[in-house]
């Protein structure tokens, strides 16, 4: 059913929060690598991707704040919500693990964001279309970085191959919710705001198959079970991410740079 203008705004806010929280939480996770990556170039690479993602999160959360019009700003939304109010997919809150785990998580998300932003450019919502246009350019660099690394690790040594294959199997179940449509996705697609997820799923899947083949990795079998971080039902890991991320704003309310 197509929502009327009055009921549409709360739905649109939830959808924008899904996109913004994905970027925010993944950016926060990648930031944990600063000073710990295996080489200086990778330290810079992961930090740069984190910076882009936090930039995207700012644009999206500021938009959500304007839409809800309750006097909250992007910082309030980013730092002062409770866990169940975060609508990021569960995949992005998973721990960094080793460099291979991080790269696998990144490939899965970059492929998703690439296909999503590409289609969101023609969204009926002009603001989302503009943000997607901007973010797509950056995401192309992220994808090139993560997919090149996946190929090097997958088609590398026995050890690196085994590690990324096992990371892929561990993280794969979390991808179900990324491309599985729920009611909100359907409402957004019906209004022309978001692309239909079924179509996005095909493109995402094809993109992944190509890179997995080149990386000599095997695509794990599908399992029916799914997480639903995008509905606010998170894994045990998000609480720890939030504790670190929110510490400053909770301890010193209203602190500014």
């Amino acid at each position: 059913m197509i929502a009327s203008a009055k009921t549409l705004t709360p739905l649109l806010i939830r959808y924008v929060l899904r996109l913004g929280d994905l970027s925010l939480i993944l950016g926060q996770r990648l930031g944990e690598w600063v000073g710990h990556a295996p080489a200086l170039e990778e330290d810079l690479g992961l930090a740069n991707i984190a910076l882009d993602l936090i930039g995207q999160a700012r644009l999206l959360l500021a938009y959500a704040a304007e839409l809800e019009d309750r006097g909250r700003g992007e910082d309030d939304i980013a730092f002062l919500r409770q866990q169940e109010e975060y609508l990021n997919p569960t995949l992005v809150e998973q721990p960094n693990g080793d460099f291979g785990d991080t790269i696998v998580r990144q490939v899965l998300i970059d492929a998703f964001q690439l296909e999503l932003y590409d289609r969101l450019r023609s969204s009926a919502d002009e603001r989302l279309a503009a943000i997607a246009e901007k973010a797509l350019k950056e995401t192309r660099y992220h994808w090139r970085y993560s997919s090149n690394w996946l190929i090097r690790l997958g088609d590398g040594t026995e050890e690196s191959h085994a590690r990324v294959q096992s990371a892929l199997e561990r993280l794969w179940p979390y991808t179900v919710e990324l491309v599985e449509e729920d009611e909100l996705d359907r409402e957004m697609a019906d209004c022309g705001i978001a692309p239909p997820l079924a179509e996005l799923r095909v493109a995402w899947s094809k993109r992944l198959d190509e890179v997995l083949a080149e990386a000599t990795l095997e695509r794990p079998p599908e399992r029916p079970f799914s997480w639903f971080g995008k509905r606010g039902e998170h894994s045990e890991h998000l609480g720890y991410v939030l504790a670190e991320m929110q510490y400053l704003q909770r301890s010193h309310p209203g602190a500014r740079w």
Binding site: E41, D52, Q56
Partner: protein, 163 residues
């Protein structure tokens, strides 16, 4: 000051904005970067200024905005408002030829207009001009740059990314 004709105020605002130096790339000005989208006058006399962010997460974006506010106050052009313009998205193609020349002089390889892929092009070392160079990292010290190395003179150098 708002008694001055709108055209003169718009021109003064452009001049003030265009000469602001980029905090990370001091030889480049906002004019060289091509981030000033518009300066126009509203019916109530307020000047509207539109700036394009280069990278969404670039920490220089907030700084540039603050510098722009200060420059406009100092230029005494009267009431103004600054907004970020996302669409059309900023592209490195908007860097002026003067800006490209300055980048090169500063030791940073400028972005090639509409280059399809960073890997596809063979870049010349900005110091010794050798074409025997390699990409060390697609991500450099700031969001807009990649890190390369010259195999002839062994010096590392930065490349402005094409987006």
């Amino acid at each position: 000051m708002s008694a001055a004709p709108a055209d003169a105020r718009i021109e003064a605002a452009w001049r003030a904005l265009a000469s602001i130096a980029d905090p990370e790339l001091p030889p480049l000005t906002l004019g060289d970067l091509g981030v000033i989208r518009f300066v126009r006058s509203r019916p109530d006399g307020t000047l509207e200024v539109g700036l394009s962010p280069t990278y969404t997460g670039c920490p220089a974006t907030d700084y540039i905005r603050q510098r722009a506010e200060r420059a406009l106050i100092e230029a005494e052009i009267g009431a103004f408002s600054i907004s970020a313009v996302l669409a059309p998205a900023w592209t490195s193609d908007w860097i002026s030829s003067e800006g490209r020349r300055k980048l090169h002089e500063y030791g940073i390889v400028p972005p090639e207009p509409a280059a399809p892929s960073l890997q596809a092009r063979q870049l010349a070392c900005p110091r010794c001009r050798s074409l025997d160079t390699e990409c060390l990292s697609e991500f450099g010290s700031t969001p807009c740059k990649a890190l390369h190395r010259c195999r002839a003179c062994l010096e590392p150098f930065e490349v402005f990314k094409c987006i």
